[in-house]
């Protein structure tokens, strides 16, 4: 088994998870993750782990730009504002779970792009060193960024939740 094949077996789910929290569509996230590994096979990078997440981030960014263009186009066509993409409906899951995912989505959207990137890379299992290389941060700054990102994620989530409770009552 090659190193890349081993990484594919162990990292594919992490890459999908990383991409999913950027595109919020599981099928699309899996397609993009496959594209990442196909490109890795073609390039045979020296540091495949870091390379894979760097390419995944770029693909997700391109995907976001395309989505914005599509939304603008749709808006022009329909003359109606088109809402942001939401997490796909999970028919087999409970409404609570669906709502919980939407809340995390909103909380993540409240972070700055860099804080969000660092948090998602950490959650995908990357080390501080790898995160620093990918985001051009100093290794010492990763902890600071991560501390801020965690705090803001939880604060944004709690604020949204309390806002919903207030609206219901």
């Amino acid at each position: 088994m090659t190193e890349l094949e081993h990484l594919y077996q162990t990292m594919f789910s992490s890459v999908v998870r990383f991409l999913y929290r950027k595109v919020w569509d599981q099928d699309r996230a899996e397609d993009l993750a496959q594209e990442v590994f196909i490109r890795a096979m073609a390039h045979n990078p020296e540091k495949p782990r870091a390379w894979i997440f760097a390419v995944a981030a770029n693909l997700a960014r391109d995907e976001a730009r395309s989505a914005i263009r599509r939304r603008k186009h749709l808006t022009l066509l329909t003359n109606d504002p088109v809402t942001l993409a939401r997490p796909d409906a999970m028919a087999d899951e409970t409404m609570e779970h669906d709502e919980a995912m939407a809340q995390v989505h909103e909380a993540l959207a409240a972070l700055s792009p860099r804080d969000r990137e660092v948090l998602l890379l950490w959650d995908a299992g990357m080390s501080y060193q790898e995160i620093a290389e990918q985001t051009s941060l100093a290794v010492g700054a990763v902890g600071t960024t991560l501390a801020r990102a965690r705090r803001r994620l939880v604060e944004a989530h709690d604020q949204n939740e309390s806002g919903r409770h207030a609206a219901r009552s």
Partner: protein
Amino acid sequence: MRHVPEAELHAYLDQALSRSQCIEIETHLAACFRCQQERDAIAGLRDRTTALLAAAAPRHVSPPPYAILAARAQTRRQRSWQRSAVWAASIAGAVIAGWGLRTALDPHGEPLPVPVAVNAAAALPTESPMVPAATTDSSPAELIFSAPTHSGARWSNPTVRLASGGSLPRRQVSLPAAAGTEDVSLSLDDQWAPVSLGEAEDATGGLVPVVPDLPVLDIRMRWGDGQSRPLLIVTQQHSSGAFIHIIEGPVTEVAAFVSDQLQPGTEVKSSEPGRSPPDYREAAGSVHRTSRVLAVVARLPVDSLNLLAQEVVLK
């Protein structure tokens, strides 16, 4: 007493510190109640973050077998290589064309040797096309020979000289135009004359486009200005039963003909055009070059037509 900064406690809990840094922090924590509380708060925050992100995870992910992705990567590499080869051949063709034309137009220049054989398919020469001297076509499927000069017996040489130095007689195949194959998907006017394969070879100097191993049902020919090779339509039957039409001729005429056929409401589709050997003709002491292309037209998906177009050889 210096307390442990928040970021360091995050790094400590994330196991991102060196062993010596960990020992230093643990020593401090053992004696500092405030930092212990801070550590516990950060540990709670960390767990909370992990739980929140876990709630926003995709459902079960099942990666496709690695072999499937490897095959796709291989296919992509091959396509990339083919594109590069076509580009390289095009550039080489343009360079050689300029060189050949300059030689032809320079009466004081030393005659230069005729280019010989850039040949991806030289191992299969019996179906090879005749290409005139100074021909610079870059079609990767095409053979380039040190053929007779473009003046005089340009198309009349009965033999084909091979890159290996030998020669073979041009194959004469008499294939009458198939009756009952008026087909199908093309609308043709009276200018298109049915011809046999032998007649088509004579009129084109042996450059009749066909997909090997598929039966030829019909060949139609339309003369242009009389100095260029005629426009050709070769109708073959695909293994699926579908009729395919290979149109070969000068770029503008092929483009006009294909666009006429691709009218809305029809199911006819066309491949992307591929280059075929150009025409050279002398006029007023200079040599004019006319680019030619071929396209495959049928009621098939465009991807299939593009693949078929790559298989076309000129025989």
